[in-house]
Structure formats: structure tokens, C-alpha cells
């Protein structure tokens, strides 16, 4: 699927996808994040999307599944919070990590970012997309992407300093 077809066939159903996400996840912000995550997923697989006769239906399915998974993950996020509490209470589970190397630490930090922030930081800092391009793909304003990118980068720095000097 070409960039043009992606824009012509996927972006127009953005509202519909948002509606599905909203029904499952309730909150506006969660639904918006989910839709952007799905759109970026679809963007990265756009080459093979051409094989599906009904791309819109597939996008709908992916959105539904993705949101259901997110719902399941919410429970897991709570247990992640536990890890953070443990760390603050002095029992540091990452202490061993510190001895491994900075690469392992950064990998872990990035994995703990919210999924949308993970994708955006990877697209900008690894795949070298401009913010404007990511905004176009997700049908959002560049500022919205920047907010997430900035949050992700600041978080990475903050966590990195905590883990290596804490």
C-alpha cells in the first residue's frame, strides 16, 4: 500500500476507529492514544495491507483487539507501579541492572514508557521521521506528537539518572 492509499483509505476512518476505541476504553485520552498507536502500527505494515480486500474492516479489527489488549494491560501496569514503590523504599530491583550496562538500562526504561510514547520516540530517534511526518500519519497536530515525544525523552533522562546514580 502506497503512502497515498494509506492517506486515502485509512485516515478517513480515523473517527470511526476513535469511536470503537472510546467504546472499549471509555476515556478520551486513552482512546486517542490507542488510535494513534493503531495508525502507526498500520503505517509500519502498510506494504502488506494492500493484500487485504477490505482495509477498513481490518483496521477496525486491529483497533478493537488493540484496545481489548490495552484493557488487559491496565492490570499489569498496576504491578509495574509496585516495582516503582519497591525501588523507592530502598529495595532496588534494578540494582543488578546497573551493573550490566547502560544499554540494558535504557532498553528497559524505554520498554516501560507508554506504548504510544515508545513508538514515537523510536520513529523520531531511530527511524528519523520528522515530527510533522508522524503527525500526518496519525492524523494529529505536530504539537500533540511533540508533547508525547518531549514527555518520553524527559522521562528517559530522568529515569536514567535515577537508575545510574540513585
Amino acid at each position: 500500500m502506497s503512502q497515498e492509499r494509506y492517506k486515502a483509505e485509512i485516515l478517513p476512518i480515523r473517527d470511526k476507529l476513535f469511536h470503537i476505541a472510546h467504546k472499549i476504553l471509555q476515556g478520551d485520552e486513552d482512546a486517542e492514544d490507542a488510535v494513534q498507536e493503531v495508525l502507526l502500527k498500520l503505517w509500519h505494515t502498510r506494504d502488506s495491507l494492500g493484500t487485504y480486500d477490505n482495509v477498513a474492516a481490518f483496521a477496525t479489527t486491529v483497533t478493537k483487539n488493540h484496545c481489548l489488549d490495552k484493557l488487559k494491560l491496565k492490570k499489569r501496569t498496576e504491578s509495574l507501579d509496585d516495582i516503582h514503590h519497591q525501588r523507592e523504599s530502598g529495595d532496588n530491583p534494578y540494582l543488578q541492572l546497573e551493573r550490566i550496562n547502560t544499554e540494558e538500562i535504557l532498553k528497559k526504561i524505554i520498554e516501560l514508557l507508554p506504548p504510544l510514547q515508545q513508538t514515537i520516540i523510536r520513529m523520531k530517534d531511530v527511524e528519523e521521521y520528522e515530527v510533522e511526518e508522524i503527525a500526518e500519519i496519525t492524523g494529529t497536530k505536530p504539537d500533540a506528537i511533540r508533547v508525547n515525544l518531549s514527555r518520553a525523552r524527559k522521562k528517559v533522562r530522568e529515569e536514567y539518572i535515577k537508575w545510574t546514580r540513585g
Binding site: K41, H44, S48, V62, L106, E130, S150, T164
Partner: protein
């Protein structure tokens, strides 16, 4: 001053770019300049987090863009061994892949989407029970339903 010749940009400029980087305001080009600056040895300690972060992304970038992947002999050797090993075991079940219309796909995201699509094609437990209820004709079928229900206990 020696420092001016030593580093690829002034500290003032670097500090400014780093600040903009954390606000998500830098362009890809500016980040490349910053990367070049941060990859230099003997930088003041305060740049350590940025050096680590940019140093972490740098090798991944080369994987993605494949710009200069034969840069270091170590990397080259690793690649050679990797490619050799992959070819050697290509026919085995080691790899993750998808074939679409006979065309091979290796991108993990894509493969997973295809896998997901195939699971999506299966009817749900509910559908199966309903289908079977519509044709309760033989004892065998009833047994199958009971099996299905016991699966959900």
C-alpha cells in the same frame, strides 16, 4: 582557546539544542549534529545522560537506515557470522517470518499483524456452541459441547 577547535560545536549551542531536544523541537538534522557532538570523547560530565541516550539510539539507527553498516570491523564480523548462521538455519524453525502471496516478510510488526489476523478468523467459543446447538443431532456432538463447557470451568 583550544576548546573551540576541539569540539564540533560550542557548548552554548549544544546546550541550546539539548534543551530543544527535550521539548521535542529539534529536527532530524539538528539531532544529527547533536549526535556528532555527543559522540566525542572527553566531554564534561554533565553531558553523560545525553551521551548514553544518543549512544543507545545510534547503532539502532544504522540498523534501520543501513547507511554505513560496515563501519567497524567488529560489526562487520558480527554481521557475517549472523548472515551465515541465518542462511544455515533458514530452513529450520528458527526464524520469524510471513509469506504473503509467496513474498517473504521479515518485519516483526507486520508478521504479528498477520498472525493476529489469522487468529481473528477463528470463530469464538460462543459461536461454536451456538452452531452446535443448532444441530444437536448426535450424541457425539453433545459430548463435544460438554467438552467445550468443561474447558471454561
Amino acid at each position: 582557546m583550544r576548546i573551540k577547535f576541539k569540539y564540533s560545536m560550542t557548548f552554548e549551542k549544544a546546550d541550546q539544542l539539548i534543551e530543544r531536544y527535550y521539548e521535542g523541537l529539534t529536527s532530524v538534522e539538528e539531532e544529527r549534529q547533536l549526535q556528532e557532538f555527543l559522540s566525542q570523547a572527553d566531554l564534561p560530565l554533565k553531558y553523560e545522560p545525553e551521551q548514553a541516550i544518543f549512544g543507545y539510539f545510534r547503532p539502532q539507527k544504522q540498523n534501520v537506515t543501513r547507511k554505513s553498516f560496515l563501519r567497524w570491523s567488529g560489526v562487520a564480523a558480527a554481521l557475517l557470522v549472523g548472515v551465515f548462521a541465518i542462511q544455515l538455519f533458514n530452513d529450520s524453525n528458527l526464524s520469524n517470518y510471513a509469506y504473503v502471496d509467496g513474498k517473504k516478510i521479515t518485519d516483526m510488526d507486520e508478521i504479528k499483524l498477520h498472525a493476529m489476523a489469522s487468529i481473528e478468523n477463528l470463530p469464538t467459543g460462543q459461536t461454536i456452541v451456538e452452531e452446535n446447538l443448532r444441530q444437536v443431532s448426535s450424541k457425539e456432538l453433545i459430548e463435544q459441547q460438554l467438552n467445550l463447557f468443561s474447558a471454561f470451568e
